[in-house]
């Protein structure tokens, strides 16, 4: 465990000054600002019909996160973490250190999970900040009158679990290919494919559709944690983690 923490700290030094940190925080800030202005401008609509604004905000947020933002964020963050090694020509140096390849690989994928977690926490923080500011500037909407904390925290946890499959797959792509086009291009294509096929009854077999699956039918929140898509996400996560490790194990520095 001590070795893992040491390697994790070293990995953090490498990644915290890249764009990884910026996109993990800036994307949630950008979404929160958009949400703020939508509610601010359309405040009369919410005040008139007495709708729970947290629920509407949560629905909007998790829909956009699930459809496009979360898969694309994962595509970018996995690329950035491995690009640091590709760009500096460091794989050969890392593999010539007295550290086993499984430890190097596990720490790198743990660092990806860490940044995804930072992203999820940032989403929650800035969403609440946006709601809080709206309760001050537009109290007629009623953010101060409602509370769905349990649903929000549950959904963000499910969003995190639903990302495991995409993380492992994209991680494998970005280790295998040095360039930007292939891992990011394939990730984007599969994200779009998942959106197009979203009404297909077996859509849960496609990992890029898993983040959207945290929403239930008819755009209601589903409070079950281990739904079929999340189970599939965890299984894909494990399978592609093993596949990625095998790739690293056989990777020869030519």
């Amino acid at each position: 465990m001590k070795i893992f923490l040491r390697l994790f700290k070293a990995e953090f030094i490498k990644t915290n000054k890249t764009y990884g940190f910026l996109i993990s925080v800036l994307i949630p800030i950008f979404i929160a600002i958009l949400q703020f202005f939508i509610f601010y401008i359309k405040h009369e609509h919410f005040a008139k019909y007495g709708i729970n604004p947290w629920k509407v905000m949560g629905m909007n947020l998790f829909s956009i996160l699930g459809i496009i933002v979360m898969p694309m964020y994962i595509v970018l963050i996995t690329y950035l973490i491995n690009f640091t090694e590709h760009q500096s020509n460091s794989w050969k140096y890392l593999f010539a250190l007295p550290i086993s390849k499984i430890k190097i690989y596990t720490v790198k994928i743990s660092m990806t999970l860490f940044w995804v977690l930072v992203f999820c926490i940032s989403i929650i923080i800035f969403m609440y900040l946006s709601g809080f500011l709206l309760s001050l500037f537009r109290p007629d909407i009623g953010f101060q009158d409602y509370n769905i904390n349990y649903i929000i925290f549950l959904s963000i946890f499910k969003l995190f679990l639903s990302s495991f499959g995409i993380i492992s797959i994209q991680f494998l792509f970005s280790i295998y290919w040095k360039d930007f086009i292939r891992p990011v291009g394939i990730g984007l294509t599969l994200t779009i494919a998942a959106f197009i096929l979203s009404s297909w009854e077996y859509i849960y077999v496609l990992p890029y559709a898993h983040p959207y699956s945290i929403m239930g039918n008819y755009n209601e929140f589903n409070t079950r944690i281990f739904t079929t898509p999340i189970m599939f996400s965890l299984v894909y996560g494990i399978i592609f983690f093993i596949a990625g490790f095998n790739l690293i194990l056989k990777k020869e520095i030519k």
């Binding site: 030094i13 760009q87 050969k92 550290i99 030519k254």
Partner: protein, 300 residues
């Protein structure tokens, strides 16, 4: 001195292309071993094999009397390396680049200042590595190789891309590391004079095959350096040299080429030419090229 590296009858292929052909190599402890060869000869492949970056059969490669295949981690804990271009994170400072290693390998933070001082980068330790010159990056690469205080340092063309001043600095640094810190250095290069200046032992590889293995003195027996004499009357120079039974020939640029035998003989030649009223413009030693050395070795 015991042998720190041992490669026995090693063959290596990239697909159908044979890169190393029955390679045998050994390096003694506390020595500077020069691994010489033209580009594409198999130097970098050999180094990658020594670092476990390429897979090889069992019992073919051993370092510190341990099998690389089975004791890879233990062996690598005693080895520092710089392969091809240095692996440097450009978005981090020199200190941060080294901090990653001290954290990963659980080393004292004081090692960072120590190695930066050794490689002469302590004055720009907080500058981003992306803004470093090629020479500075090369030195930071060497600092990374030194950070774990390894017994064996493996360097692949460490002076490539450096200006003459940088080459001299690296050369002096390697000599210091060997003489003062007792490090064994395995150095690959395609520059004969560079290897000749600092290495105790030399191995020459071409087409994946070892052509020569021995000390610097052994190599000098093949190293036929010439003297190039420029004078007012080169025909007369040749006539005088022929009379003293010294072989000579007139080159295309109107100078006389004669084998360099020793400094005393050179002095005698100059005196003889002057006594024969020949005006000498210059006498220069012409270093043999690697290709010429190969021809000498093969032909002998």
């Amino acid at each position: 001195m015991s042998e720190i590296i041992n490669i026995t009858n090693l063959n290596f292929h990239y697909g159908n292309f044979k890169v190393l052909d029955d390679l045998n190599l050994s390096v003694k402890e506390n020595s500077i071993f020069g691994f010489l060869g033209p580009n594409g000869a198999g130097k970098t492949t050999t180094i990658k094999i020594l670092l476990g970056l390429l897979s090889t059969p069992k019992n073919k490669v051993s370092l510190f009397h341990k099998n690389l295949k089975t004791d890879r981690i233990e062996i690598l804990s005693k080895v520092g390396s710089l392969v091809e271009n240095p692996s440097i994170y450009n978005h981090l400072t020199a200190i941060e680049n080294l901090k990653i290693l001290t954290t990963m390998l659980h080393l004292k933070s004081s090692m960072i200042d120590e190695v930066l001082k050794i490689v002469g980068l302590d004055y720009i330790a907080n500058k981003k590595a992306g803004k470093f010159s090629t020479g500075m990056k090369q030195r930071l690469g060497i600092a990374k190789a030194l950070i774990s205080d390894p017994q064996l340092i493996i360097l692949d063309e460490p002076t490539i891309g450096l200006d003459p001043k940088g080459i001299i600095e690296i050369r002096e640094l390697l000599l210091t590391l060997n003489k003062e810190y007792g490090k064994t250095i395995f150095l690959s290069s395609h520059n004969l004079s560079e290897v000749d200046k600092i290495c105790d032992e030399i191995g020459i590889i071409d087409n994946g095959h070892i052509l020569f293995r021995g000390t610097k003195d052994d190599l000098n027996s093949y190293n036929k350096t010439s003297l190039i004499i420029k004078a007012d009357n080169i025909k007369e120079v040749c006539y005088v040299l022929s009379n003293t039974k010294i072989e000579c020939k007139i080159t295309e640029d109107n100078s006389v080429k004669t084998p360099f035998i020793s400094d005393i003989i050179t002095s005698f030649l100059i005196r003889t030419l002057v006594e024969n009223d020949i005006q000498i413009y210059s006498v220069e030693k012409e270093e043999i090229t690697l290709e010429e050395l190969f021809i000498n070795i093969i032909s002998s």
